[in-house]
């Protein structure tokens, strides 16, 4: 599908709620709020439809490790920025162990000179080439592109890891067989967390489960995308599209779109126990990570529109884009509309609540049941606890993702930020305040709604209050989950479970 067609689809998607809100808003001033209602409905229907198609595809997923012998050489690139040299040394050893025949390069952009000094002897001892840049041009994508320019012709493949990640020796042999198909540019493996020491780590794990066990499986070979690290790429494919895309803070997503629009394939091999990494241990680390991911997600819209993606791949990417819109601004503004109606008794929308019950509630229940059925098929480590932690963590993102959305709309430049790993931390009141405010607001909204219900006598009005109260009450368990995650995710590296403890021996 050509660009004008894609632009037309997107325009219709956003214009239809506007038209509906024009006819259903109580006044011109209420149109923005009513627009959010309709947009939320459109997003729900579209994303549930795409999700359902993806789940049918995911059921047919057959990609496995191949373990074909190969004599192709691979170079491993590890991107680092002011990382703990001790952690880096540990992971470099494992990476060296996993790639016996190829070189390992550390792409270090550290600005802390003490760290740089410590890294040099470690790399020398381990036989790792260190490429240090003083400028952070293009951030991670820039570092990878600079390294790409230095890689010799004898290397056909490159693997990319983050500094906290390590592959085991089974990693490479298991995936190289896929490259016998000359159209495959990248083979991506999911990340397995070494530990989930805090509730926010656990929530991040559950949040990833749906994405890694279902969505990425469904998208393998068509619209699966690079996850930043833990992938092997055909160097010629990356070079053919001009290297990694530097204009987006999530270079992985952007480069994937470009590769796929040039007919290259990205395969996702969902196998556990292949490479390890650390989950964000604190809420601030999690928010930082998701803030970057959401901004990168928003920024990818123009690439989706102006590249040559097949229609199904375009819908998959657009559904991902809508996910961020839903997690951030749409959720925040729909919450605001609940408050306007129940707290301030402002009528914004002229829709018969019976109509809403007949048409929306069956869809709402169906989508919940479908999600429950999908999550309960035994493939994911999910369950009720996982569901609440996942939803709680997403609520924590409401303000951050909204901020990313406005940064995208206003074209504000934000630097590439590395998710802090292994850094001690706890909650701060500054961080907790927005969530506390939302909780107070929802509680007062429910109370005021109940009071209003006692005095309202008109049937349709009572129905409208009931509907709004239902959605306010529905939020409560997730808000509690968000608070639990927020206030209990205190992390100290000392608490990490280690298996082996060195015992001091007497001298001599």
């Amino acid at each position: 599908m050509k660009t004008p067609g894609r632009v037309a689809i997107i325009s219709c998607f956003f214009a239809a709620p506007l038209i509906l809100s024009f006819f259903t808003a109580t006044s011109i001033i209420a149109i923005p709020i009513v627009y959010i209602y309709w947009l939320l409905l459109f997003i729900s229907v579209f994303t549930v439809a795409v999700f359902q198609i993806q789940m049918f595809k995911a059921d047919k997923y057959t990609f496995k490790l191949l373990h074909h012998p190969t004599n192709k050489k691979m170079i491993i690139l590890i991107a680092a920025f002011n990382e703990d040299p001790g952690m880096l040394a540990r992971n470099l050893i494992s990476i060296k162990n996993a790639n016996r025949d190829g070189e390992v390069w550390l792409l270090d952009d550290s600005t802390d000179q003490k760290i740089v000094k410590e890294l040099v002897p470690i790399c020398e001892k381990l036989g790792v080439r260190i490429i240090h840049r003083d400028s952070r041009r293009g951030y991670k994508a820039g570092a990878l592109n600079d390294a790409l320019a230095l890689i010799g012709e004898d290397y056909e493949f490159m693997a990319v890891f983050d500094s906290d990640q390590m592959p085991n020796p089974r990693f490479f042999t298991g995936i190289m067989g896929y490259f016998s198909d000359p159209k495959i540019a990248v083979v991506q493996i999911p990340q397995t967390y070494t530990s989930v020491p805090t509730n926010i780590s656990n929530s991040a794990f559950f949040q990833q489960e749906v994405f890694l066990r279902k969505i990425m499986r469904a998208r393998s070979g068509s619209s699966a995308f690079i996850l930043g690290s833990g992938f092997v790429a055909r160097i010629s494919a990356i070079r053919s599209v001009g290297g990694f895309y530097e204009e987006n803070v999530t270079e992985d997503l952007a480069t994937s779109i470009i590769l796929q629009s040039h007919s290259w394939k990205i395969v996702y091999v969902d196998t556990s126990d292949i490479w390890y990494g650390r989950s964000p241990e604190t809420v601030s680390a999690y928010i930082k990570q998701q803030g970057r991911w959401s901004l990168g997600g928003f920024q990818s819209l123009s690439l989706m529109l102006y590249s040559n993606l097949p229609l199904s791949a375009f819908f998959d990417y657009f559904s991902g884009w809508l996910y961020w819109l839903w997690v951030g601004p749409v959720r925040l503004f729909s919450l605001l509309s609940l408050v306007l109606f129940l707290d301030f008794r402002l009528y914004t929308i002229l829709v018969n609540p019976i109509f809403f019950i007949i048409f929306y509630f069956p869809f709402f229940i169906y989508s919940m049941l479908f999600y429950y059925y999908t999550a309960g098929d035994g493939l994911m480590s999910y369950g009720i606890k996982g569901f609440f932690m996942h939803q709680g963590a997403e609520l924590l993102l409401m303000f951050t993702v909204t901020s990313s959305f406005f940064a995208y709309i206003l074209r504000k430049k934000r630097p590439f930020t590395v998710t802090p790993k292994g850094v001690a931390g706890t909650y701060s009141f500054r961080q907790a305040m927005p969530m506390i405010l939302v909780e107070l607001l929802v509680t007062s909204t429910i109370s005021l709604g109940v009071i209003w219900l006692r005095t309202a006598s008109q049937f349709l009005l009572r129905t409208a209050i009931y509907i709004n109260l239902f959605f306010a009450v529905y939020l409560i368990p997730f808000l509690i989950a968000a608070s639990v995650i927020l206030f209990t995710s205190t992390y100290s590296p000392k608490d990490e479970k280690i298996l082996l403890t060195r015992v001091q021996q007497p001298p001599g």
């Binding site: 050893i93 390590m166 480590s381 082996l500 403890t501 021996q505 007497p506």
Partner: protein, 205 residues
């Protein structure tokens, strides 16, 4: 005198003409050709066996021990130069939820060995009380998780390619785990002292 009773089975009956030192050297050089070995012996012999194994300058000896073997491990470690002594945490008391976690622990244990010695080649990894190392679920010992753990650990140590050796001592531990370790080994060695001379059998698997 070395006798080959069959192609898979070698037994040595050392005559008292050889010094004890020499007997242990013969033993160790016979066994060291196997990358993964399960050794069944009396605990008191470990103090003699480990230091004789191969504490050459270019190799690093790592002595891991599970609960209850600290004294033996300390004694062996003190006699073996270039050795590092590592205590294994209470793995058996950890409740494991799935096989992914079990494999994860195996890889983690290997990576912690590499990190401690800052190398992954030419390692002699002695595990004292290996058959005491198993994983449990909520019902108790889970052999599937245990197998996953040991498989991933051994695969991550990558003994053949790294010129490393894994020598697992298992006696008076869990018999099921002992069987598992035997099945994962290249050779099983039984060693004892009979009439002041060393008697051992190597069964190549």
């Amino acid at each position: 005198m070395i006798e080959a009773s069959d192609s898979m089975h070698i037994s040595l009956h050392s005559e008292s003409i050889l010094s004890e030192e020499k007997q242990w050297s013969i033993f160790c050089s016979s066994v060291s050709q196997y990358p993964i070995v399960t050794v069944k012996t009396r605990e008191s012999l470990l103090e003699s066996l480990i230091p004789h194994y191969d504490c050459r300058d270019d190799r690093t000896a790592i002595i891991l021990y599970s609960f209850g073997y600290e004294a033996t491990a300390r004694m062996a470690g003190s006699l073996c130069k270039n050795s590092t002594l590592l205590e294994i945490g209470n793995i058996d008391r950890a409740i494991i939820g799935d096989s992914r976690h079990a494999a994860n622990l195996g890889d983690q244990m290997a990576s912690e060995i590499f990190a401690d010695s800052m190398k992954f080649r030419k390692l002699d990894v002695f595990i004292i009380g290996a058959s005491n190392i198993f994983l449990s679920d909520r019902k108790g010992l889970n052999m599937r998780f245990t197998e996953q753990f040991w498989n991933s650990f051994i695969s991550a140590i990558n003994a053949i390619n790294n010129d490393s050796r894994l020598i697992m001592f298992s006696k008076r531990g869990n018999t099921e785990v002992e069987k598992l370790l035997t099945s994962l080994s290249n050779a099983v060695v039984s060693v004892d002292i009979v009439n002041d001379s060393l008697d051992f059998q190597i069964t190549s698997l």
